[in-house]
Symmetry: C2
Subunit: 239 residues, 2 copies
DNA sequence: TTTTATTTTTAGGCAAGACTAAATCTTTGT
DNA sequence: ACAAAGATTTAGTCTTGCCTAAAAATAAAA
């Protein structure tokens, strides 16, 4: 029996599961409309949450009973409308906090993830509002990830592509750094490859992507080239 | 067996208990040196934590096993040196957050407590440092409560007295508002009775204290007069 | 199609931290 | 001094969220 008029506050774990179902169920471009998501496997959730698959099954049953996910045994899980809203709310908290830590408190953009991960579950709506206000209601966080609005709409997407999928010679701006791995973040930050940075793809080789950033040339391993999303120079315009 | 080389991170509940043992064990003037505290009863902790006495007993045993409190059955509890340090650290977090919410994010001084209560357990040392830096390493929070330094020293105490204990005619400045009750805070805020405000005690009556604030006169109920700590005008100097 | 490998679920447990009810200590009143 | 009252502790449960091991379902391969 679904409890759609759900006003029981969710636990931290529950919120985290919902967030991950959204993230894993969306393409690499980041979360979009609920209809565009695909079901998520128990295993992928277990990996993401650093937890055993059996634990995931247990939690999914609870969330299904709350009407927050649609869960069919052996068949993966997807969010309901209600679960989707919760997930977006958590994402909004996370990304606003990242932006605030970066802009207001001088955190490096590569340092903000861990702190936001803890805080996202513990701030009030008032806090959310005040930092959003202070920041001027930003549409993207320091990693280039979209921030849902107060009414949970996502900002319009721009046509970005993975560095690893570009043709040689192409120039563009880093639009998004889609990893949370601390080592990767540190390296990319060290190379100046943060959102907004200009780069040119020299060529794709077996080991990864040879690029030029300012006057420097680097060979970026495949694993990193895949998480760097690039906005093409002179690419498609929308207006 | 005490585990004095304690580096197991404490739970939120454990930190809260330690904080309350410190607060309840200190006089109304707020926490001072560990030697000046008195043992705290199970009942008073239960009241403060909104929990049944049996639950308190259970937790105290755990904390005693960790070497954070000295606990003798039926006899109350006090902090050990290690527990005292944890309690001060939590208090520092709490009060720095209150100050930051007030000064940086425009929270009213009467609104900050609830938010700080949640956040105090979830911020990193880096976060603590950055907001302390931003604030200029303040010695007191918006309620006038002392903030332990990064090395956990308490700022020198000033000779304040409860409004309810003053003689009529006396003038002074509000030094501290020692309540966390939201209704009381709202009322005091409404009357402009925040730390720094000047007032004069007209007379003590059975129902409370008749005072003058600016051009207004109020009869402040006993319960409120007891939580208002006043710094006497032209009072004892220390230099 | 049948076997094998992989994924997922079930079953049973554990640790925190709360609760209730019952037992036991301490204090207090006379 | 002693009994009643009040405070505290013990004993036994419950819920949450995780675990491991074993069973079952699905998917892949022969």
């Amino acid at each position: 029996m679904h409890k759609l008029t759900n006003r029981t506050p969710l636990s931290e774990a529950q919120e985290d599961y919902l967030k991950q179902v959204l993230l894993l169920g969306s393409g690499g471009e980041g979360p979009g409309r609920l209809e565009d998501t695909h079901p998520v496997s128990t295993q992928s959730l277990a990996d993401q949450m650093q937890v055993k698959p059996a634990s995931v099954t247990g939690m999914l049953k609870k969330l299904a009973a709350l009407g927050l996910v649609e869960y069919e045994a052996y068949r993966g899980v997807r969010l309901t409308e209600a679960g989707y809203r919760v997930a977006l709310e958590v994402l909004r908290h996370h990304r606003l906090i990242e932006a605030y830590l970066h802009e207001a408190l001088g955190y490096g953009w590569e340092e903000v993830h861990a702190e936001a991960e803890k805080l996202e579950h513990h701030i009030s709506e008032a806090f959310e509002e005040r930092i959003a206000e202070w920041l001027g209601h930003p549409s993207h966080d320091p990693h280039g990830d979209a921030i849902p609005s107060a009414t949970l709409e996502l900002p319009p997407t721009t046509p970005n592509r993975r560095l690893s999928a570009l043709e040689h010679g192409v120039r563009g701006l880093v639009a998004r750094v889609a990893t949370q791995d601390q080592d990767s973040l540190n390296l990319l930050a060290h190379l100046g490859l943060k959102p907004g940075a200009a780069l040119q793809l020299l060529e794709q080789v077996a080991e990864g992507s040879r690029i030029q950033v300012g006057k420097e040339r680097y060979l970026l391993p495949m694993s990193l080239a895949q998480v760097l999303w690039v906005h093409l120079e002179g690419g498609p315009h929308d207006g």
